[in-house]
């Protein structure tokens, strides 16, 4: 009896230790960056995990930088636009793929997947030339377009998997109740697929927010340069100084919106939303 209880306790302890190890492994770099961002310039190489003295000097420097506030605004705008422009058509496409039978339906899904597998490095060069010719170079649209193209397949796949879980009777009931196909999607399917919509939105937003390749190749000024690129272009207060502290501070700042977004959306990502729809 006691032997079994203690064995169980030991097992729980082991589980807890394993979880702790995984969390530490995942969060250690983040914690290190937070620590760096709070250190004084002279302490950067002191090898300590906790700063000797906490200073917000690095954050002040980041926001006083010419580039950074503009880059933050660009990142916000471009990632948000890409998210909306990708998820809304993806919802229409996924609904059609799941509910209508039309020739080439499988081909469409396979094609979408093929596009998602395209290596971005292969298209960034041609895009550079094309965008310059079209006047899209160094504009928001110039970044939104590739982000949408690359994330649309992912969003379609996520959403069609989600729409499939919604009973078809609900569509049919809405149609008989007098809804057009669009109204059916708007009032019945989309609200029920909200968790799927939020999942897709987060995926697209994070892709656009984190992208470095397109952002560095297709922008040149404050007009459209996003945060990841702006951080790379950081210069210290003198040319002999590496702006490690400022980079760390900027990294922390750009992580916050993503964490905020996920936390915000997590409330909506609750399962079992269709409970009570069809079973008696």
């Amino acid at each position: 009896m006691t032997g079994r209880t203690s064995a169980r306790r030991l097992g729980m302890l082991g589980e807890f230790a394993a979880m702790l190890a995984v969390v530490a492994y995942a969060l250690a770099p983040l914690a290190w960056i937070v620590s760096l961002s709070l250190k004084r310039p002279g302490d950067l190489n002191d090898g300590r995990f906790l700063p000797q003295a906490v200073t917000l000097e690095n954050y002040r420097a980041v926001f006083n930088d010419v580039q950074f506030p503009a880059a933050l605004w660009n990142s916000m705008g471009i990632a948000s636009m890409a998210t909306v422009v990708s998820v809304v058509p993806a919802a229409f496409a996924a609904y059609a793929i799941v509910r209508l039978s039309f020739p080439g339906r499988r081909l469409l899904l396979a094609g979408a997947l093929a596009i998602a597998m395209f290596p971005p490095a292969a298209i960034v060069g041609p895009l550079f030339n094309l965008w310059r010719a079209l006047g899209l170079f160094d504009t928001w649209l110039g970044l939104v377009l590739p982000y949408v193209s690359l994330t649309l397949p992912l969003a379609i796949w996520t959403l069609s998997a989600y729409f499939r879980t919604i009973p078809r009777d609900l569509d049919q009931a809405a149609r008989v109740d007098g809804a057009t196909p669009f109204q059916t999607l708007r009032y019945v399917i989309a609200p029920l697929a909200a968790p799927g919509l939020f999942t897709a939105a987060i995926l697209v937003f994070i892709f656009a927010w984190n992208d470095f390749l397109f952002a560095t190749a297709l922008t040149s000024t404050r007009a459209a340069r996003t945060v990841p690129v702006a951080i790379a272009f950081f210069t210290g207060s003198s040319q002999f100084e590496l702006p490690t502290g400022a980079i760390a501070a900027a990294s922390v700042v750009v992580t916050l919106p993503v964490i905020g977004l996920v936390v915000l959306c997590q409330r909506h990502i609750v399962s079992g939303l269709t409970a009570g729809a069809v079973k008696g």
Binding site: R175, V176, D177, L192, G276, A277, K279, G280
Partner: protein, 392 residues
Amino acid sequence: MATIELENVSKGFRGGTPVLDDITLTIEEGEFFILVGPSGCGKSTLLNAIVGLEQLSAGEIRVDGQRVDHLDPKDRDMAMVFQSYALYPHMTVRENIAFPLRLAGLPKAEIASRVAAAAEMLELAAILDQKPARLSGGQRQRVAMGRALVRKPKAFLLDEPLSNLDARLRVQTRSELARLQQRLGATMIYVTHDQTEAMTLGHRVAILNGGRIQQVGAPRELYRNPSNLFVAGFLGSPGMNLIPARIDGAGLVLPIGTIDWKSLPPGFAGRKQAVLVGIRPEHFHRARTDESPPHALRVEARAEWVEWLGAETFVQLGPQVFDLPAGPGGVGELAAGQSSTVTSAAPIVARFDGTEQVAVGSPVRLWVDAEDIYLFDANSGITLSPSPSQRT
């Protein structure tokens, strides 16, 4: 409310047998019309075709003389109650019921008063602000009804609306539904596989099998005068007993006895053919003395099994009593092509009053009035005409 006409309606999927095969029907205004048949007979497909969720391969559907088969479901002005109820889980009961009215663009005050009226009629007032997930099966069923009738549509289509309820609630809801239909004077088309629902609810019943209409008529008409073996076997529980027999010089010769010519209806004289004899369980009478009608089939049998249900007693007489042929041309082969409700091994069942006492294994003497004997063609299953008598 409206009259619904179907003319030569067919539906087939590519490279398969037709799901609906040349169906012509008229459903009168204010009629409670039942589509009944075994699973896979096409009854739900027919309902979906009427409401517009399925396209026809051929034929016409008219509502009050206007063709509707090319219209979108939203333009047909019919309401449907789904077997699963299909309530919108993210909306409250009130929003569910109001949804069709909201789509129709009715003013808010009108919507509120109509929802209130429907809620009162279906006793939903107390749960108007709850979500479907918290409701019981019976409540969900009533919400689905409310969502259908709040629109005052031309017709109500119900797809097995009671099949998800438990037995007691089903009987109660069944009579509520009948009263509701009467009060509204609504045209209702009701799909079910349950013959009890069909018989108790329907003004008229259409029996479907294999995508074809077998017979249309009032429940009494279908039960008393089935047009073929399938209809005869489908209605009634337990089903009609089927015994192979032949007509020849001596009269109707059954494995269990012979009925002479004088007892048979006119028209059979001189014929020689193989037939199936159908006898409903309630038409077996127990012979206490030697008294029985002049034209009767008298049988001596052994009670193989007895089921006493209080009000009635079912006695299985066992197939061997009648020495049924198991080979080709027997009941089994015909039944397999006709129906799943008739099987070759089915024992002969007699239904007695509950007060009758029959011991298992004891001999039973029975008689059947010749008037109550049905004859079917052994090959086609069609009721032989002239039928034994036009029963009423």
